[in-house]
Amino acid sequence: MSKLGIFDVAVRYGKVPALSDVSFTVEEGERLFISGPNGAGKSSLLKAICGAAPTSHGRIEVDGDVLNGRSPEAIARLGLTMVPEGREIFGTLTVEENLRVGTGIRRDKAAIETDIEGVYESFPILGERRHANAGALSGGQQQMLAIGRGLMTNPKLMLVDEPSLGLAPNIVDQVYETLVNLQDDRGLTLIIVEQSSARAARVGGRMVLLRGGTVVGDGDAAKFAESDLLKEAYFGQDQSEEAT
């Protein structure tokens, strides 16, 4: 059984369709990039999976459990966590409080404190600033906090929406290095929205390409980086960070 199954899914906002006929599956431990131009529906797809946006059609499954119609808090309990676009950290809470918000669903209460220390080991700057208001962190630090906060739910499947958004290239390197390490350590299944196919190819993994709300390509990220399909998907306007 696949870790995640997306079957013929559609999402619409009022009458505006954002996604239609989207189908693919993700295996346990896989790393999948979702790419495509602005407005392609990448965020909508992640929101549909985590329960933040309702599907108007189709079925989404995690470990064979149907997610449609479940609340976000119920879906989180199935071991799925979301690191959303724009990080959405709680700016009025301290760094450590941010990390603790998601621990309410855990059964293994004893492991929470060690896991918090684990996050501080992965991101030492968060440990140094654990009692600071999260709103005072820099963009890169907030991205790290958003990832750490997601990890504190002890997930099996992690969705990360554009972790590179607004970050300097060396910080992006750091973020991806940590994501890959975390995946290797924990056997996470990782789905990452990344507009830069070059970046995706360098990190390595599979890629699903979206355009206009549908899947227009699915394969190894490395092959996509050079293919015409990608250029076509972007309508010639290259939005990857390397081009700018």
């Binding site: 976000p72 309990r77 979301m82 709680f90 009025t92 809470l93 669903i105 709103g135």
Partner: protein, 304 residues
């Protein structure tokens, strides 16, 4: 003679009542973006829960007969239950509606509660004598202060400190603060929307009960309209404090209490009947200068 300490105690005790009522409104606005205009009716409901249902002018104590040690927790519980029930039966079903629709449903609920009370107790204000000994004056720094005022000030302090500790130190408090800032994100992290909202209503209802107890002891009447008046002031306090900001609600509650007492004390005699006009002028000026409130939190974007 000792006008200044007297004014100070008046201001602190009146401000304390406003602050507690404002907290009740701000708590719910924080997690739900709902301005709950039924809050005043929770207060009235709690007042009338003290007396035996009847339309007579002099009230016979019902719950009010119980000793304080029983009466206080029971009334707090009644307030909490009424608020939680109203969430369960009314607000839960309009949770995804527009803020205006939610606000209107709170007005509607308020009318239902008020009319129910009207039906059972009639509209005539009733004399209620709850803990009359608390209105006896005691001497403090040369001023003669009713004991109740001192109790009110300490109660407010106790409530504010307890609430702050609850929000800062407990799991549900953490979840409430996270949900108040970004409800969807909190839910994505597994925070149960129903638990947080029910918790906020329970706290808000208990606050309404505390205000009810103080008001009835202080004024000695049970009046169907008493909830509406305090609700108005409390709502203004939450707006001035910055909708959704709990410290702002407390500070603005005290500010309005102080302004009201100072105006009462220093306005020329012939202007005193118009005290509220002066008060609301100050409110308008404050809103013109700081439309987001005097203590607006950085990350709250009020939708109303």
């Amino acid at each position: 003679m000792n006008a200044i300490p007297q004014l100070l105690f008046d201001a602190l005790s009146l401000g304390g009542i406003y602050a507690m009522a404002a907290l009740g409104i701000a708590l719910i606005f924080g997690v739900m973006k709902l301005v709950n205009f039924a809050h005043g009716e929770y207060i009235a409901f709690c007042v009338f829960a003290l007396i035996v249902p009847s339309t007579d002018a002099v009230a016979v104590m019902f719950l009010g007969k119980a000793p304080a040690i029983l009466l206080i927790p029971m009334l707090l519980l009644i307030g909490a239950v009424v608020a939680v029930a109203s969430e369960f039966f009314v607000f839960r079903h309009v949770r995804n509606a527009t803020p205006v629709a939610m606000m209107i449903s709170s007005f509607a609920l308020g009318f239902v509660i008020q009319n129910t009370l009207l039906l059972i107790y009639s509209s005539r204000p009733k004399a209620v004598s709850l803990w009359p000994e608390l209105n006896q004056p005691v001497s403090i720094i040369g001023a003669s202060i009713p004991l109740l005022q001192i109790i009110v000030i300490f109660t407010t302090l106790l409530v504010v400190v307890t609430l702050a500790l609850l929000l800062k130190r407990t799991r549900i408090g953490l979840e409430m603060r996270a949900a108040a800032e970004n409800f969807t994100m909190a839910r994505l992290l597994g925070v149960r929307a129903n638990v947080v909202i029910t918790g906020a209503f329970a706290l808000s209802g208990a606050l309404a009960a505390a205000v009810a107890l103080i008001m009835v002891t202080q004024t000695g009447v049970a009046d169907i309209r008493m909830g509406g008046q305090i609700m108005l002031v409390a709502f203004i306090a939450t707006v001035i404090g910055g909708l959704g900001s709990l410290p702002g609600a407390v500070a603005a509650g005290f500010l309005i209490g102080a302004a009201s007492v100072i105006l009462q004390g220093f306005l020329p005699l012939e202007a005193r009947p118009f005290r509220d006009a002066f008060l609301y002028t100050l409110v308008i000026v404050s809103l013109l200068l700081r439309p987001d409130g005097l203590f607006a939190p950085r990350s709250t974007k009020p939708r109303v």
